[in-house]
């Protein structure tokens, strides 16, 4: 474990969350950008704020950083009120989307900036700066100016500059969005490993759901300023609570239908299901649908026949667009199997049709 692991402040209750967002709302002019957000972040966790542009995720980040004030609500950290403090008094540091490195300072001076501004003893500074640069593997660039660095390198420096201050919480505002795909993947795994190693709590903002799933301990999905669902990646994928979540994260088939006398009917599909009569929506992931070569279905399964409208090859898998009749199209993901003929039988387990709300 690296020596940079920060000593967590002694909490009254070891299980108490590090950051508490309590009923925070933010209004800009006539627009409610954030509506009544309550969220707890545990110490040492990697939490991602996920959402489209305009969902409010960056605003929430900026409220925690201190660049905006909540219209209503409070933010607490380590048992003390946070939102009344100016940004330069919070034990929170930010990695900005475009890095915001100071162009007139060298890499070393950029990293040392926070230490100097807070009056760290001069003797301590060089060793801490070197430690931080080591952590992001940028030691050989210590004397360079930011303008000479590539995007990925600048990003590392921005990270070091934030971490050297040993914040209780690190905020990352879509830090990887300016990088190209390969570099992005590489940085994702490096970030994840880094966070595990030093144990600092990360609050990460992104609109890329794959990135969120790869990196996070928990994902907070934001939609139009409200929390849609907060859960770990596996849970949010396997058990989305709303139709929006099911569609935003991964791909899905949204089946709309109704339950009548313990039978669920969605278009041509029907299966037995306990529940009150009324309209119903299901999320059915494409990969949970399989080919049924022998045409036999088991009791817990639903079978249907469909003709293949489109087959898109994806290397390891195929994505099929299947016409089940009566204008009902389903997407099916199969392991690579070569081109298929037009009509086939398909099955899926009833349990895989997850009930969601609108």
């Amino acid at each position: 474990m690296s020596s940079v692991a920060i000593p967590q402040p002694a909490l009254v209750d070891a299980n108490a969350p590090l950051l508490e967002v309590r009923a925070v709302a933010k209004r800009f002019g006539l627009r409610d950008v954030l509506k009544n957000i309550s969220l707890d972040i545990a110490s040492g966790e990697f939490l991602t704020l996920l959402g489209e542009s305009g969902s409010g995720k960056t605003t929430l980040l900026r409220l925690i950083a201190g660049f905006e004030q909540p219209t209503t609500g409070e933010i607490w950290m380590s048992g003390e009120r946070l939102d009344t403090l100016p940004p330069y008094k919070r034990r929170v540091n930010t990695v900005f989307q475009n890095y915001a490195l100071f162009p007139h300072l060298s890499v070393r001076d950029n990293v040392a900036y926070g230490l100097r501004a807070q009056g760290t003893p001069k003797k301590e500074i060089p060793s801490r700066v070197n430690e931080a640069l080591n952590m992001v593997k940028m030691t050989e660039f210590a004397g360079a100016r930011p303008s000479r660095l590539s995007g990925g390198q600048q990003q590392r420096v921005a990270l070091a500059r934030a971490l050297v201050n040993r914040p209780q919480l690190l905020l990352l505002d879509e830090p990887l969005s300016a990088l190209d795909a390969n570099l992005r993947k590489q940085m994702q795994s490096e970030l994840k490993a880094l966070q595990r190693e030093i144990g600092i709590t990360f609050l990460f903002v992104t609109h890329d759901q794959e990135e969120a799933m790869a990196l996070s301990d928990r994902i907070a999905l934001l939609r139009d300023g409200a929390l849609e669902q907060v859960a770990g990646p596996r849970e949010i994928y396997a058990r989305p609570s709303t139709a929006y979540t099911a569609q935003f994260i991964g791909q899905t088939n949204l089946l709309r239908g109704e339950i009548r006398r313990s039978i669920a009917t969605c278009g041509v599909l029907r299966w037995p299901l306990e529940g009150e009569d009324g309209p119903v929506i299901f999320s059915l992931r494409p990969e949970t649908i399989r080919l049924c070569p022998d045409g036999k279905r088991q009791t817990h399964e639903v079978k249907f026949r469909g003709s293949i409208r489109q087959q898109i090859y994806g290397g390891a898998s195929e994505l099929l667009e299947v016409d089940c009749g009566a204008d009902q199209l389903l997407r099916v993901r199969l392991p690579a199997c070569g081109p298929l003929t037009s009509e086939h039988d398909f099955v899926f387990s009833i349990a895989d049709a997850i009930r969601v709300v609108d």
Binding site: F96, Y113, R161
Partner: protein, 281 residues
Amino acid sequence: MYSRAYKTIVSAPPLLWVTLFLLLPYALMFAHSFWAVQDDVLVHHWNLDNYQKLFTNPLYAEVLFRTMRIAASVMLCSLLLGYPLAYYLSFHSGTHKELLYQLVIVPLWVSYLVRGYAWKTILGSEGVLNGFLQYAHITHEPVSFFLYSPFAVILMLTHIYTPFVFLPIYASLEHIPRPLVEASQDLGASPFSTFFRVILPLSMPGLLAGATFAFVLSLGDFLAPLLVGGSSGTMIANIVQTLFGAVYDWPLGAAISVCILLLTLSLLFFTQRLEKRWSFK
């Protein structure tokens, strides 16, 4: 992409004009400084007498230093007024920014003469300021040093050049990406500290440009002293002007002009080097 004919047509006329009407005149000025006047007639007799006169007669040095002091004061005062104004507009003015900016620009379009004349009417013994002071019973007699003094020249030129100094500083400040200011505060620097560590260094090019502008133009100004300077506020350019006017000694006047020119050019050169050092892209 551009043919030789195109490039020639485009370069030749301005090149010729500038050579004829700028290069040649400046060269003529230079040449004149080495000539002399005998019996009220210009004689093309090459000599260094004029420069010798300049360096040995203490009068010229005295006026030159007074001019430089005035120019430095104008530069300093304009900066003290213009920089905070630019800072306020750039960082604190919110929705009114564009309107306030236009309001600062308006006086620039108003005649130099008009503004100088305004001060003349305000500062005199019978002027508005004295009238107001006596009306408010702050003084009982007219204060005379307001007008016809170096103070009046500095005041008038500061008034003229503050918007000039404001412009490049404002442009520089606007160019500073706001995330840098946020990053600085995020890292623990107070707004005060942020100003000195981030904003000021990054606004240096604009500051240098504005300061140079104010200094150089004040250095060569001859109208302000004539309007409000009196005899104690005479500047070096006035001496040149009289040498070309009542006192018919063009060569000496040319020599002083050449000195002003060289001084200006070296200042510009020096600040350009400084600006390069301070500009970070």
